[in-house]
Amino acid sequence: MTPQNNRQTGTTISIRPLTAGTVVKVCLILIALLILTALFSTMVGTAKITWGQLWNLLLGNAAATDPARLVIFRIRLPRVMLAGLVGFSLSLGGVVFQALLRNPLADPFILGVSSGSAFGAVLGIMLGLGFTFGIPVLAFGGAVLTMYLVLVLGKKRIGMESSTIILAGVIINAFFTAIIMFFIATAANDRLHTMLFWLYGDLSQSRFAESAITAPAVIAGFLILYCFARHLNVMTAGEEAALHLGVNVGRAKLICFLVVSLVIGLVVAFSGLIGFVGLVIPHLCRMIFGSDHRLLMPVSALSGAIFLIAADTLARTVISPSELPVGVITAFLGAPFFIYLLRKRGSRWTGS
């Protein structure tokens, strides 16, 4: 941190606020880490693949019939990419919702997007639709439906009153969960396994097409949300204070809510429900990097991507040849950490 000299009085203080340079530097480090994790993940698995082989493959030097090629490009790489995109979105959504709702327990699912999406997906599974098109469309539709319901139920005069919105989300969650329970209770065996696997997160059959569809949405969503990073900083002082300081709180909340819901809805439509990422990663990053959202948002998102790639790698190797749903891994890693956080900091969530 370079010392800052005040020209008029000559007093010196040794901190200065966040600069674009710092943000870029930290992000570059995290991106490098992300790439390393992704590469490592593609190397890990049943078929043994060495660095040399991987390098050849990526450079396009391998024979077309090399079996490792199929494994890397058809199985592992699409999976790693989707895991990265999903982790990125969930973590980003968590940061934004925690700031918007000023609630440390907020994750992107708190406002019911998860159960609406789950309802759509489970309905699709019941109807025997395919995972290419039918189920993701219904899952996304379910997310949009819940988003709409939450807005209608939670909107008040000034904009969106936080506690009302949270209540609306909880009620909608409960409602859709009940319907999902009904489906589960009446499902035939083969559908049941598929439903349960989806409800805990299933990245097992990811394809490039899925990443291709979600990537632009995720990036666009991030860029839009980043424009509100300063707004989120100011909003931490309280909604009224933010209004006094010139933030159009109602508009910021609405846009952020819409963008997060749409991105999460899309991402969850392909991956199923993966919990704890949107809850724990933002807190961890806040502990290390502070609460300034201009840094916290990209850092959280990138960390979420790294975390989920790692978790998914564990999910497919830890009880090999069998597989666990990735949501189980994130819960196992996330819950104890969260307990530790609670004990250390109580309900205050302070930055560096």
């Binding site: 058809r74 199985i75 995972f131 083969d190 598929t194 097992s204 497919r316 040849p321 069998s322 597989e323």
Partner: protein, 314 residues
């Protein structure tokens, strides 16, 4: 059902009358017979059952196969084979049986399975005075034995033994034909997403084994393990069987999905097949048909006529 008959002789009527009385009293239980079911429970029936409730779809199939369809009083929800069974009154699903509905139907025998129906259901029915006979076929041979047992309980022992004999002959034919042959690796996929297969504790595995194949997932600890596609690649199965409960649609797509993985011998040699799951996952008479079909797919050299997509039911 055997009924001992006593003829009345001429002299000593009193003695005989008394003897008859004693014997009649003594013989009262002999108008009926006592059976021991798969759980070694004592089931006493006073006469051949006329109103039978089946608590599992495979039991329903067995009853119809034995020609006892007219005696079936109630079935569970997914008993849709043979088609006539769909019209029978429903008593709930095989996991959650509706005991009240059963009582309404006033059956004189209830046939249940060990893994599906709960012991609580059985106790409730017993307390209501309804005889419950539990079966537990875990393999193909046990299935044939179960058919014979149910026939026996229903008072059709001769017919049951005859039909069981027919099925056994068909079974032994397959076993004999595949005996000396090399065993190809057969990967059985029972769910699309996630990919799931079966281990040795399943009847599917028994079918594969009897049909002359070997299941690479046999030794996995979980009965219906979820499998990574990579794992299947590593196993390099010679045959892939996708068991489906429906026609085409998702399962066709699942098969197409496999066709991309040319490193698998099964794909290279065009040995990815769809088989109706009813034929291989259910301990019913049709499992022999399933066995024959599977043998034909795994060892086409046995009977070239059997080498085809086995989607039809029978």
């Amino acid at each position: 059902m055997m009924i001992r008959q006593r003829g009345c002789r001429g002299m000593g009527r009193m003695f005989l009358f008394l003897a008859c009385c004693i014997l009649l009293v003594d013989a009262a239980p002999c108008f009926g017979t006592v059976f021991y079911d798969a759980l070694n429970r004592r089931v006493a029936l006073s006469s051949p059952p006329r109103r039978i409730v089946s608590l599992a779809p495979n039991i329903t199939e067995i009853l119809y196969y034995l020609g006892l369809g007219h005696r079936v009083a109630g079935v569970t929800r997914f008993s849709y084979y043979p088609p006539e069974a769909k019209k029978k009154p429903k008593v709930g699903s095989y996991i959650r049986v509706n005991v009240e509905r059963i009582l309404e139907l006033k059956p004189d025998l209830v046939l249940g399975t060990m893994d599906g129906n709960s012991s609580q259901t059985i106790h409730l029915l017993e307390r209501a005075g309804i005889p419950v006979y539990v079966v537990n076929p875990r393999s193909v041979r046990e299935t044939i034995a179960t058919i014979a047992r149910i026939a026996d309980v229903a008072g059709m022992k001769a017919r049951g033994d005859r039909l069981a004999g027919l099925l056994t002959r068909r079974l032994e034919k397959i076993v004999g034909e595949t005996a000396g042959l090399e065993r190809p690796k057969v990967f059985l996929q029972i769910n699309i997403r996630p990919i799931m297969t079966v281990n040795r504790n399943t009847i599917h595995n028994d079918v594969i084994r009897l049909a002359g194949g070997v299941n690479p997932a046999a030794d996995l600890p979980v009965t219906y393990p979820r499998i990574n596609r990579e794992e299947v690649l590593a196993w390099k199965p010679d045959v892939i069987i996708i068991s489906s409960m429906e026609r085409g649609g998702r399962f066709e797509r699942a098969r197409e999905e496999w066709l991309k993985w040319l490193s698998i011998p099964a794909v290279r040699n065009s040995k990815v097949y769809l088989v109706d799951s009813d034929l291989i996952d259910r301990p019913s008479p049709r499992i022999i048909r399933g066995l024959e079909i599977m043998a034909g797919l795994i060892h086409p050299e046995i009977d070239p006529l059997r080498h085809r997509d086995a989607r039809t039911k029978q």
